[in-house]
Chain length 390, copies 2
C-alpha cells in the first residue's frame, strides 16, 4: 500500500511533464487525403511529420476539407456523400454520416456552427450542425417546372451566408442561414448555361462561376446584389476548336492578389491575368501544359501552377512583379494538389503516383523533406479555419 | 488496497472522457492585456469566456503580442523590456526575460523560429530563439558618427526578414535573418525626419513609416527595393496650425482593403481614404474625433474607428462601398483597442475605464456579451499567428 502510494505520488510529480509532452496545439496541423486507401493523414507543418492516419472514410476522390474555428476538427466531404468529422487532438473520427448519395464540396459558416454540403443527389444543399452533424435544413435545388438541379461551387460568405451554383438550372443562390432552420434564399436566374464550379474572393465579396456550356464567367458582387450577375471575361471557356481537355481547371485555386487575378485557361497552355478591379484581361502567360490549380503564395509574390496530363509531373512558378514564368520544378508523378503554409515559407505538394508529399522552401525552391503518403490527392491546412471561403 | 485499485480502474475507465473534456484547441484563443494589473487574460472567442489569468508580466503599457505558428504560445512585449512567453495550453508563463531597458514592439519571423524586439534602450533590435528566448543576435542601431537611434515600427516580412525604422537616424533597415546569428542588413538612409511608427501591408509588400518631424509618409516597396524609399501623401502629418494632438494614431491598425487604404488623420477629425495602388488621396471622411485605430473587418466591408480624448467612449463604423460613417456605438469609457475574430463575425472592444471587454455581432451591431477585465488596453487573437506583419 505504501509502495503503491509512493508510486502514485511519483506519478503525480511527473505528470506535469508528461502532460506537457502530450499537449498538442492546432495552429500548424493539416490533413492529407489518401484517395484510394479511403484514409487521411493528420500532419504537423512545423515538425513536417505525420501524426496519425485515420481510415474508413469512404470515397475520397475530389474530397475537400474545412476546419472548425478552434481548428480542433476537420470536416471531410467525400464523393459518396460521406461527411466525416475528425478530431485532430484525439486522432479519431468524432462523427460520421452518409448525408447524400453523390456529393461534391462543402463549406463551414462564418461562425463555425453550420456545415453545408452541395449534392448532386439528392439535388440540393443540406445544412448540418457542426457540433453533432444533425441535419438542420434540407434545401432541394428545385427550379422551373419542378425540375431538380445538381449543385456545385458551394462557398461560405460573410454574414452567415452560403453561395452555390445550380448546374442544370443556370442559377446562383445566396443562402442566408442566420435562421438556420428557415434559411432565406435569394435566387439569381439566367446567369449562364451550366455553371460547373465557382469561387469566392478572399474578402468574400465576389462570387465567380465558370460556365461549361457557354463562354465567359458569371460574376456576382455580393456588396451590390441589386446589380445582378454580370458576364465577364467573355472569351473564357472551352476553345472553339474543341481541343482535348485533359482536366477542367479547379476554381478554388484561383490566385487573387492585390492587383491581379490569375486564371487557368481551359484546354490551353496559358494562365490568364486579369485586372482585379475591372476583370479585364491584362496579359496571357504561356505555361508548359493545361493548368489545373493556379495558386498564389500568401504574400502574392509567386504564383504556383500544376498541370493536367501529360505534364502533371511538373509545377511552374510565375513571378508576380514581372508576370513571367521563372522556374519549373519536377516534384514527381501526378502532382494533383498543393497547399502553402499560412505565412508562405513552405509549400506541400502531393505527388500521387509517387506516393509522396514533397515540402519545398518557397524562397530557395529547395526541397526540405518528403513524407510518404498513399496516393495523396489533396492537402488542407488548419489555417483555413480563419479564411472566408475556405 | 482493493478499494484503491477499484478506484484506479474506475479512473482509468473514465479517463478518456476526462481527457477529452480537458483538451483545448488553439485556433480560437486570445490574449487581453490588463495594463495596470500587469496581467493578461487568456480568452476563448467561441465560448466568449475567460480561461485563465496570468500575472506578474511587468509594465504592459503599449504592450503588443505575437503568436507561435502552432498558436500554443503568446509572446508579450512589455514597455519595460520584459519579454514573456505564455503557454496557452497550460495557463502559465513558459519563459520570461528582461531583454532590454525600454522597449516598444516586437515581431515573430515567418517560420516562427525567431522573436525580434525593437528597443529604445539599448538602442537597437535583438533576435531571440522563439523556443528558449536565448539571445541569437544583438543589432545595435548605430548610425552617422557612432550615434545610437531608438528603433520603432518593427514588423516581420516574407523570406525571414524584419523591417524596422530608426527614429533618430531617419533610416529604415531591412534585416534578413536567414542566417540568424549573422543577419544581413540593407539600410535605407534619409527616408525622412523621425519615423515614429510603421506598418507592413497584409501581403508583406509595402512598408510605410509615419514621420514625426516632417510631412508625408515614407513608403518602401519590398518587391522593388532598388527604387528606394519614396515619399507619399505629402500633406500627411501634424497640422501647420499645431492643433492639440491628444494621441498619435497607431499604424498597426490601418485598414488596407482591396481598393483603398484608410488612414487616421493626425489631430483632425478625419479618416483619409487613399487609392491602394497609387497612394493618392481619394476622399476625406469626417468622423467625430481624432481617430486612433482605423481597422477593417476581415472582409473589408466595414471600417471601425476609435478616438482620442474626449471622444474615447465611442466607436464609429465606416461603410466601405459608400465611404461614409453609418453607425456610432458607445461601448464604454476609454475604448483603447479592438480586435475582429478571424472571419469577422464578431469584434471585441476594450473599454479600459469600465473594466470591460464588449463583444459585438458585426452584422447586427448588437452587443453579444461583456467580459470583466481589469483596465483592458489591448486584445490579440491567436489567428495572428498566420498573418504576415502581425
Amino acid at each position: 500500500m505504501t509502495k503503491l502510494l509512493s508510486f502514485l505520488s511519483l506519478s503525480l510529480l511527473l505528470s506535469p511533464t508528461l502532460h506537457a509532452d502530450a499537449l498538442r496545439a492546432t495552429g500548424d496541423l493539416g490533413i492529407v487525403i489518401e484517395r484510394e486507401a479511403h484514409s487521411a493523414l493528420i500532419v504537423n507543418t512545423s515538425q513536417k511529420t505525420q501524426l496519425a492516419r485515420i481510415e474508413d472514410l469512404g470515397d475520397l476522390s475530389h474530397a475537400s476539407v474545412v476546419f472548425s474555428r478552434d481548428q480542433r476538427f476537420a470536416y471531410i466531404f467525400g464523393r459518396d456523400g460521406g461527411l466525416s468529422k475528425l478530431d485532430l487532438l484525439q486522432d479519431e473520427v468524432s462523427h460520421r454520416i452518409i448525408q447524400g448519395g453523390n456529393s461534391i464540396g462543402g463549406a463551414i459558416s462564418q461562425d463555425g456552427r453550420i456545415i453545408a454540403v452541395s449534392n448532386y443527389s439528392p439535388p440540393g444543399v443540406k445544412l448540418f450542425s457542426a457540433d453533432t452533424l444533425e441535419l438542420l435544413a434540407d434545401i432541394p435545388a428545385t427550379y422551373g417546372e419542378n425540375q431538380q438541379s445538381k449543385t456545385v461551387g458551394l462557398v461560405d460568405a460573410p454574414n452567415h451566408r452560403f453561395v452555390v451554383s445550380l448546374f442544370d438550372a443556370g442559377e446562383i443562390w445566396v443562402i442566408d442561414a442566420t435562421d438556420v432552420k428557415n434559411p432565406h434564399i435569394d435566387k439569381f436566374k439566367n446567369i449562364g448555361k451550366q455553371p460547373y464550379d465557382a469561387l469566392i474572393s478572399a474578402d468574400g465579396r465576389y462570387y465567380i462561376a465558370g460556365l461549361f456550356a457557354e463562354k465567359g464567367l458569371a460574376l456576382l458582387d455580393l456588396w451590390h446584389p441589386e446589380n445582378g450577375v454580370k458576364r465577364v471575361l467573355e472569351n473564357y471557356g472551352k476553345d472553339d476548336e474543341q481541343l482535348p481537355i485533359y482536366k477542367m481547371p479547379h476554381f478554388e485555386g484561383w490566385a487573387m492578389t492585390s492587383d491581379y487575378v490569375f486564371v487557368p485557361a481551359i484546354g490551353r497552355h496559358e494562365v490568364l491575368v486579369l485586372d482585379s478591379r475591372t476583370w479585364q484581361l491584362v496579359k496571357t502567360i504561356p505555361v508548359l501544359g493545361q493548368p489545373v490549380f493556379v495558386m498564389a503564395r500568401p504574400d502574392g509574390r509567386q504564383i504556383w501552377v500544376n498541370f493536367a496530363l501529360p505534364s502533371n509531373d511538373k509545377v511552374q512558378i510565375i513571378d508576380a512583379p514581372s508576370l513571367t514564368v521563372t522556374h519549373t520544378l519536377n516534384p514527381g508523378k501526378a502532382v494533383l494538389h498543393f497547399e502553402f503554409t499560412p505565412r508562405g515559407e513552405n509549400v506541400w505538394v502531393a505527388a500521387r503516383d509517387d506516393n509522396q508529399v514533397i515540402v519545398y522552401d518557397t524562397q530557395t525552391l529547395n526541397e526540405i523533406t518528403r513524407l510518404p503518403a498513399d496516393k495523396p490527392n489533396g492537402i488542407f491546412f488548419s489555417a483555413r479555419a480563419h479564411k472566408i471561403g475556405m
